[in-house]
C-alpha cells in the first residue's frame, strides 16, 4: 500500500480513492478526485490553477525548501521489517509532521506580516484625515473629553508624588 500524490493538486491519494490514468507512453497520472481529473482532461496546467500546491509553491505562497521534505522522498527499496525501526519511524512521522506544518504556517505568517503593518498604517492615516466625518472638528476642540484614541495622558508619576505625603 502506498500513499500517492495527486498529479494536479498534490494532495495525498489514499487507497480506494481517485482515478489513475495511464497514458500511452506509460506515464501514470494519479488524481485524488474527479475535480482534478476533470481539470486534467481540460488540459489545464496546474501551475496556473490557483488552488493547487504547484501554483502556490511556484508563486512563493507556500514553503518550498525545507529539510523536513527530505524525509518524504520516495524510496523504492523496501525495508526489511524491524519492529524497533517501525516504532521509531511512526514516532518520527508525527514529530516531523508537526515541525513541517509549524514551519509552513510561520512562512505564511511572515508573508502576511508586511500586509498587516501596511494596513495598520493606512488605517491610522485614514483616522487622522477623516475624523471630521465622525465628529465635527469644532465639537472636538470644545469638548476635551472627546479625543482621538492615540493621545495618551501620562498621569502615573504625578499621582505617586501626591500619595506619599498623604500616607505619612
Amino acid at each position: 500500500m502506498r500513499l500517492e500524490k495527486c498529479w494536479f493538486c498534490s494532495s495525498t491519494v489514499y487507497p480506494g480513492h481517485g482515478i489513475q490514468f495511464v497514458r500511452n507512453d506509460a506515464k501514470i497520472f494519479r488524481f485524488c478526485r474527479s475535480k482534478c481529473h476533470k481539470n486534467f482532461k481540460m488540459k489545464r496546467n496546474p501551475r496556473k490553477v490557483k488552488w493547487t500546491k504547484a501554483y502556490r509553491r511556484l508563486h512563493g505562497k507556500d514553503m518550498t525548501q525545507d529539510s523536513t521534505f527530505e524525509f518524504e522522498r520516495k524510496r523504492n527499496r523496501p525495508e526489511r521489517y524491524d519492529r524497533n525501526l517501525a516504532e521509531n519511524t511512526l514516532k518520527a512521522i508525527k514529530k516531523i509532521d508537526k515541525i513541517r506544518s509549524d514551519r509552513a504556517s510561520d512562512h505564511i505568517k511572515n508573508r502576511l506580516k508586511t500586509g498587516k503593518v501596511q494596513r495598520q498604517k493606512e488605517a491610522r492615516k485614514q483616522l487622522e484625515q477623516g475624523i471630521h466625518l465622525v465628529k465635527a472638528p469644532l465639537a472636538l476642540a470644545q469638548d476635551s473629553s472627546l479625543c482621538l484614541p492615540k493621545i495618551k495622558v501620562n498621569v502615573s508619576q504625578a499621582q505617586i508624588e501626591e500619595n506619599q505625603p498623604m500616607e505619612e
Binding site: 489513475q20 495511464v22 500511452n24
Partner: protein, 123 residues
C-alpha cells in the same frame, strides 16, 4: 456492470504486424455479452489495415483487449484508465500473432496467464 469496448466498436491494435483498426464482433466465452473489459478475448474483424501485412481487411481474427478508455476497477479498489482502446491479435491458444507489443499493458493480463504477451510488452 459498467461498459468497456462495446461490441461493434473500433479498437486499435498494438502488435507489430498488425492492422490499424478492428471492430469487435463478439466476445468469446460469454453469450449475449454487451461489454468487455481488459483481458477478454474477442472475435474481431479487420476494418483498416496497414499495407504489407499477412492480415487483410475483412479478415476475422481473435484478439485480446489490453487497454480500454473506460476505467477498469481493480479488486483493491484502484481505478485505472488508459488513453485508447487497444487489442493484441492472438491465435487459438492465446499466443500473440505479432512479435512486438507497443504501449502499456494492464497487470490483469498476467493474472489471466497471457504470459507471452506480458513478456513481450515493454511497459
Amino acid at each position: 456492470m459498467g461498459c468497456a469496448i462495446v461490441v461493434h466498436v473500433y479498437g486499435g491494435t498494438p502488435t507489430e504486424a498488425t492492422p490499424q483498426e478492428l471492430i469487435c464482433i463478439r466476445v468469446i466465452g460469454a453469450s449475449n455479452c454487451r461489454y468487455t473489459y481488459i483481458g477478454d478475448v474477442i472475435i474481431a474483424v479487420i476494418k483498416e489495415a496497414v499495407p504489407n501485412i499477412p492480415l487483410e481487411i475483412s479478415e476475422m481474427i481473435r484478439a485480446i483487449i489490453v487497454r480500454t478508455r473506460k476505467e477498469l476497477k481493480h479488486d483493491n479498489r484502484m481505478i485505472i484508465q488508459h488513453d485508447d482502446n487497444a487489442t493484441v491479435i492472438i491465435d487459438q491458444e492465446g499466443n500473440p500473432k505479432g512479435t512486438r507489443i507497443f504501449g502499456a499493458n494492464a497487470p490483469k493480463l498476467r493474472q489471466l496467464n497471457f504470459t507471452k504477451i506480458v513478456s513481450l510488452a515493454l511497459e
